[in-house]
Symmetry: D2
Subunit: 377 residues, 4 copies
Amino acid sequence: MTKLRWGMIGGGEGSQIGPAHRLGAQADGNFSFEAAALDVDPEKGRAYAQSLGIAPDRAYGNWQEMLAGEKDRPDRIDLVTVATPNATHFEITKAFLDAGFHVLCEKPMTMTVEEGEEIVRLAESTGRICAVNYCYSAYPMVRQMRAMVAKGEIGAVRCVVANFSHGHHAAGDDDANPRVRWRYDPAQAGVSGQMADCGIHALHLASFILGDEVRSLSADFASTVSARVLEDDAMVNFRTEKGTVGRLWTSTIALGRMHGLDIQVFGETGGLRWASEQPNQAYYQRLGGRVEIMEKAESGLHTDAARLCRVAIAHPEGFPLAVANIYVDLAARIRGEARDGLPSAADGLRSMAAVHAAVDSARHEGAWVDARPPMFR
Amino acid sequence: MTKLRWGMIGGGEGSQIGPAHRLGAQADGNFSFEAAALDVDPEKGRAYAQSLGIAPDRAYGNWQEMLAGEKDRPDRIDLVTVATPNATHFEITKAFLDAGFHVLCEKPMTMTVEEGEEIVRLAESTGRICAVNYCYSAYPMVRQMRAMVAKGEIGAVRCVVANFSHGHHAAGDDDANPRVRWRYDPAQAGVSGQMADCGIHALHLASFILGDEVRSLSADFASTVSARVLEDDAMVNFRTEKGTVGRLWTSTIALGRMHGLDIQVFGETGGLRWASEQPNQAYYQRLGGRVEIMEKAESGLHTDAARLCRVAIAHPEGFPLAVANIYVDLAARIRGEARDGLPSAADGLRSMAAVHAAVDSARHEGAWVDARPPMFR
Amino acid sequence: MTKLRWGMIGGGEGSQIGPAHRLGAQADGNFSFEAAALDVDPEKGRAYAQSLGIAPDRAYGNWQEMLAGEKDRPDRIDLVTVATPNATHFEITKAFLDAGFHVLCEKPMTMTVEEGEEIVRLAESTGRICAVNYCYSAYPMVRQMRAMVAKGEIGAVRCVVANFSHGHHAAGDDDANPRVRWRYDPAQAGVSGQMADCGIHALHLASFILGDEVRSLSADFASTVSARVLEDDAMVNFRTEKGTVGRLWTSTIALGRMHGLDIQVFGETGGLRWASEQPNQAYYQRLGGRVEIMEKAESGLHTDAARLCRVAIAHPEGFPLAVANIYVDLAARIRGEARDGLPSAADGLRSMAAVHAAVDSARHEGAWVDARPPMFR
Amino acid sequence: MTKLRWGMIGGGEGSQIGPAHRLGAQADGNFSFEAAALDVDPEKGRAYAQSLGIAPDRAYGNWQEMLAGEKDRPDRIDLVTVATPNATHFEITKAFLDAGFHVLCEKPMTMTVEEGEEIVRLAESTGRICAVNYCYSAYPMVRQMRAMVAKGEIGAVRCVVANFSHGHHAAGDDDANPRVRWRYDPAQAGVSGQMADCGIHALHLASFILGDEVRSLSADFASTVSARVLEDDAMVNFRTEKGTVGRLWTSTIALGRMHGLDIQVFGETGGLRWASEQPNQAYYQRLGGRVEIMEKAESGLHTDAARLCRVAIAHPEGFPLAVANIYVDLAARIRGEARDGLPSAADGLRSMAAVHAAVDSARHEGAWVDARPPMFR
């Protein structure tokens, strides 16, 4: 099978997410890395791209150059990944969709709901794939839980509890580290701190596993470090379209928690639990039964989970391969195969609408507000 | 040292909490079990008491008989434990305090805030001890965390997250089991289901470890089983007097969780975590350091934790000995020694005020309300 | 039911095991503590006994006094617990059995195999109970595993792996602490260090769960701290009467392990796992199935496990209550009821024979030797 | 940096290890996959290679064709991975080394000690890299432990305990599954079953972390399923060159264990623990201190661990990236950089010598035997 051509914007030297994308795109041999604009500093970006094997004429200085250079090439890239600072996602994604490229955008897809709706419409009108990198949804055991819910194996879902709370931004009251501080400054980070950064992952995961969407929510935001304006700890209660009760806690000052993304789903006839720090197991209790430990790659997993396991049971697979799973499905979709579950522009939009709803609720003492984007009401 | 004399009301044959109290009171040789009114059925109560070694003349048919029989004896009991149905706690506790007995009351101490205030005043005016059995606070590692907070070892506390969520009342939508169903029926259980039953343990634990009190709260209640009126799942956001942010989730439909009481405390310079299912360890991360596993009975524990460890490090101690620790401190107090940390009538009152505040908030879409009892405002 | 009368030898102030026995004997109201000789220092022993509520005339200065004082009393004790230094167990146990008392002896029951055989014969001829405090066998989940094996729920047992390895005697090469050092000095500790101290617990546990006995063994002993003569780390391979393969590792220098007693049992159709640090759970995998978490007090436990659970599922019970369970069965046996599973003098003898066999094997480069006491060959 | 050219022999469609090698080689962009002979069935192998993007003229029918085809090409492969059935490793590895290729060989490198010595000499005389895929040694936290031992952070090592025991070959007594059965048949598997298959991983890991080699050993082998001849459960006691005591248990009938590779290292001043099922954490206790949880990618890791972490702390990395780490170091070595820690032909030889020594010892009732290959005595 011929490799697809792939390019990347952002994710330069020293970036955390860059290597995960490069590994993810190339791990299964679906994509060859052909073009890049990796850095805000054009020279650094060009040099780093070439050090990674990109041809000089496709090692671009910025995304505009890359768009111009790629759009008319006969061997132009099939897919571009956008891993730039958040505020630029909208503009770049829009431009590449417009030019007929498939796009994988890092979260958050946009800064505003209006922008999000524009991307959704554009993806629809162009027929291009616009995916958002909610990569936790691509862990095999997350897929297993989603399939179990869909097949009624835990009955109607009563409650979902999702946390994404860690302690990596615990800091003194002056919040002295500039690489942390900007995240809580509205001028640089927008309307939301931790909710927009991590909370939306947990929110997407809840919707994804439930096969259901958040309808309304009530939020309590706190800024626990004096120097901060935006929230570093938030609690969101929500209700889904189907009436499931949701609880979501997200925090950056939770010392003792390392990654801290976990989810519990409680249905009429069964309960499920999974945590991203040990992603190869999930826990399942049937009503009246014992807790069972489900293992990645065990026999009898649902198809959508089994197909994403690369190595045998109990050989752990981790975060970079969850990202790779997103690329597996992107490749399939680009090649014209159907794939359920790839996080879409609509998911990116819903997340942004929920973040804005949470901000709004938190400013009004937790009043319940509609969490849906206008176009989906 | 002479043994103190102890009596018990409620906790008859088949009761869950009865054996824990009898073991707790007698485990350390402080109390001898001398009088009892164990059952609503007088004959069954008398017979069971005698089978446990109570003399026939002190095996009473009900609490009124017991009060009458004990109050003028020269060898009357020093302490009475009240482990009857919730609605009777107030009346019995009041009567025994009035007659000059020390009382250990099961939670909830009362059904209303007004009753709670009356007990607090009565305990003060009579000079008798009125303790409430928030026994989780008596685990050594809970005491260790409390001492660490008090000594500033995690700095100012920013956030506390307490859960008490299990799946033992997950049930079909008809909620057919009468031993579960009554808990969600206002006619039998009062204004609150799970919040009053388990949530208050988590709330007390949070206040206890923080050395701080809940000031205001916002609650989201859900009744996830059709046949139920009262909440079986609740989320409470709160703020303490010192401004700490609180999150409390309590549920009875959380299949996959067994006991489900756990607490996390996040301060400026450290974080702590403990779960009742593995009560002999607690986890501590210093800002910038690794997570350390603290062990019950390890060397260097704070005094109030060390003194409550009975056997060597890594020999687990469990729930019945946490109850026993309450009796250890009751014996000390009755003998005139000072003991910090014994849950008091004021704690029982505060809990009840918080439950009523949560009910009130939940009825008003999560409006923030004052959680304090009027007498402590 | 009338309480039985209980006395104790050894276990004085500062002892680790003394409080566990007193709590264990009294926790369930079966025994009243009536007589004691608690300390090698007669005056300290008498004073401490009286502080625990023993009448002055039964607070003895040594075991000989106690034997003399008790044997002709009409209200003499029903059971005596021997918790003195190891070298004295034989003499005291023998004297009390001879005088018609029931005895619970701390392990090791004797120092030699010959002494062990003498105790076994004496228990038989006098008809008195002589139990040995292998208390780990009294945890409910250990009983559950034993019942599962007996009922064939894991098929024929192929292999058992038992460890009892901790790091509490890790020390500098001079082994300076006298409270540790004597354990590795043949003049004070006898022929074996860690094998006799902890290894025999693991060995008994394996035999107990399997319902089978060790027939032959091969041992590798190591003395990893320069100042030590006796082994502080040992590996024993064994075969049982039924042909099961056994592996037993015991160590005192295993830094990072806290208590370190755990056991795994592998059968034709299922496997089991349990660890004493989390004694309220056990893990079970059926051939072809998932690992299931079994919980103390869950519904459907085998009778012999269920009857030893005091409080509801997921309320942890710990070491002192495992000791208490030994006393529960002792009380039943003294009252004439049948009780399977109480560790007997024969168990004490078999353990001692296995320790001596291990010493012998280790001295002969791991040669396989018969592990059975002569009288059971 | 120009990509290196890579080829693979074995690891065709349906193979477990094939995908891990392809992912591992390509994940970091160091190697391009250029040539392959993937299957014993030449046509299937050619077709599968082409489906993976290999040019038709380099999709070979067998290794002999591949050797002939590659050896004189100007763009010949830099490295070949040998992932064929065990009995062919020697022949293929030898032929490619001889022709001047670098080789990564799956374990076991050879079937006999003599063959192993021949490979070691050949690697030396040709100056080619001959690495063996002991990939567990390439997990970052394993490197961290190795560095800690090397730097004396746990003092002189007293004891190492390594297990590799799982239950995936538990089976009925007829051992009916042919994909399992051959492993215990000397005609197909050679002198050893589980020791050669998994035990050598644990043995290598112990040597690797200790920076020390096994000198002598005593083994106890068991064949617990009737239909088997070779061992499915083995215990090996050993001593290293530096005198450390070793314990190694390996089993395939250990139902309840999933992967089951773990290692504990006990030194004078500290202990370490790691398990492959949760490879991103390791546990460290300093003498007199608490157990600390070390995390992959935490700040302050030793260089050799830190450099192998791809994503941020608490984002798990798994088995395929451990394999990838082997390729990272192979690329560096091929490019002329120094890299300590890559498992070498000498390691492959030592493992084979130890397996043969264990077989020999087991046949002689556990007699202690020299475990070193003759050339290293």
